[in-house]
């Protein structure tokens, strides 16, 4: 859950929420149907999104071993799944706490940046074709965070 909303529930332990606090909650609840729809799209069309990315990635990097390409693609699938959940919860921290540190280290250890720097723009382009601008707006914050962690770790920490 978004930290602001979580804090709001904690603060309201022994009192009613203030009007402006209810406003924050309302805003999130209003955005939920569209967030759910975005999640549904990502969930149902995962292969449809990722397969063209895989094909283009292979074509762009013919000399890179299949193992390395597959490792980066698997990471991207995992990241997108986490980003989808973070988007649904409206909580970037979900990606940050659960995954970023993790994929960042793996990316460093296996030196996947040359692959990832081509993969993520391809993925973003594909997502832009499938999602509406509003849906993309919901997904962008966690996705950008994840992408930056892989491509430019200094910018995130």
């Amino acid at each position: 859950m978004h930290p602001d909303i979580e804090a709001l529930f904690d603060d309201a332990e022994s009192r009613y929420l203030k009007i402006e606090e209810l406003g924050i909650l309302n805003q999130y609840v209003d955005s939920l149907p569209e967030r759910l729809e975005t999640y549904r799209q990502l969930r149902n069309r995962e292969v449809e999104i990722m397969q063209p990315v895989a094909d283009e990635l292979e074509a762009a990097l013919p000399n890179v071993s299949q193992d390395n390409l597959e490792r980066s693609l698997k990471n991207a699938i995992l990241l997108l799944r986490y980003c989808a959940m973070a988007m649904l919860l409206n909580d970037e921290a979900f990606v940050r706490n659960r995954l970023l540190n993790w994929v960042e280290k793996a990316a460093q250890a296996y030196n996947t940046r040359p692959i990832d720097s081509i993969l993520y723009p391809l993925l973003e382009r594909k997502l832009g074709q499938i999602l509406t601008p509003q849906q993309m707006g919901f997904l962008s914050p966690p996705l950008t965070l994840a992408k930056n962690a892989l491509l430019d770790p200094a910018s995130v920490s």
């Binding site: 995962e46 292969v47 990722m50 397969q51 895989a54 094909d55 990635l57 292979e58 299949q66 390409l69 597959e70 693609l73 698997k74 699938i77 995992l78 799944r81 986490y82 706490n97 659960r98 995954l99 540190n101 993790w102 280290k105 793996a106 250890a109 296996y110």
Partner: protein, 218 residues
């Protein structure tokens, strides 16, 4: 040709198993903290830890270091078995096939999630037969009675048996720097007992780099 469908075995891609918010769960109604497999976790009161140190010191004096080292060995042995079991279950890969990079990453995350501080492996002396493990913010060292030498006996024992089992060789562990002596971190050196023994006497008067230099020369 890469097929995304083939990459998704059982439609599941394992992630960060020890991520703290996923790993620590509990049945609060029954007063239980649990890990994600339903095994019990507990929060150790600082005062209890201090009490154990004080009690041991009073009852066994100098020998308390050895007692703690041996307790650590017991901990490390069982920790290794459980750690491997959890990883094998979650990643569905036999331990032998798990890449070392991921194994170490899991260990680092596991350490953090249990609140044991931050552990890091330093491989710079690996070709000389030594592994250096660095732990910062150790709760076990923070509450140990201070002295004129490192006091991380619990961890030294635990690391010793953990890495002995991992490598299949009987290793020894000596701590060279200690947070209790105002060092920036706790450094533990692991190696074969014969080669590491001389370090035991060096820790009181030499710094980590000097100890490593001497060890590597011998």
């Amino acid at each position: 040709m890469i097929s995304i469908t083939d990459l998704l075995t059982d439609n599941r891609i394992p992630g960060n198993y020890f991520a703290s918010d996923a790993y620590v769960q509990g049945d609060l109604e029954l007063g239980l903290l649990e890990n994600r497999r339903g095994e019990r976790l507990l929060a150790l009161p600082e005062m209890l830890l201090q009490g154990i140190y004080a009690g041991l010191e009073k009852e066994t004096g100098q020998a308390s270091r050895l007692v703690l080292y041996n307790c650590g060995r017991w901990w490390g042995k069982n920790f290794y078995a459980r750690f491997c079991e959890e990883l094998t279950d979650y990643y569905q890969t036999p331990m032998a096939d798990m890449p070392m990079v991921e194994f170490i990453q899991c260990l680092e995350q596991c350490w953090v999630t249990h609140g044991w501080g931050r552990i890091k492996l330093d491989h710079s002396y690996q070709d000389r037969g030594f592994l250096v493990v660095t732990i910062t913010n150790s709760p076990f060292i923070k509450h140990a009675p201070k002295g004129d030498q490192p006091v991380g006996f619990l961890e030294a024992g635990a690391l010793c048996s953990f890495f002995s089992q991992l490598t299949g060789r009987e290793l020894h562990c000596v701590q060279t720097t200690c947070e209790s002596m105002d060092a920036d971190s706790n450094r533990f050196v692991l190696g074969l007992p014969k080669r590491l023994e001389p370090a035991e006497t060096m820790v009181t008067n030499l710094d980590h780099d000097a100890i490593m230099q001497q060890l590597c020369q011998s």
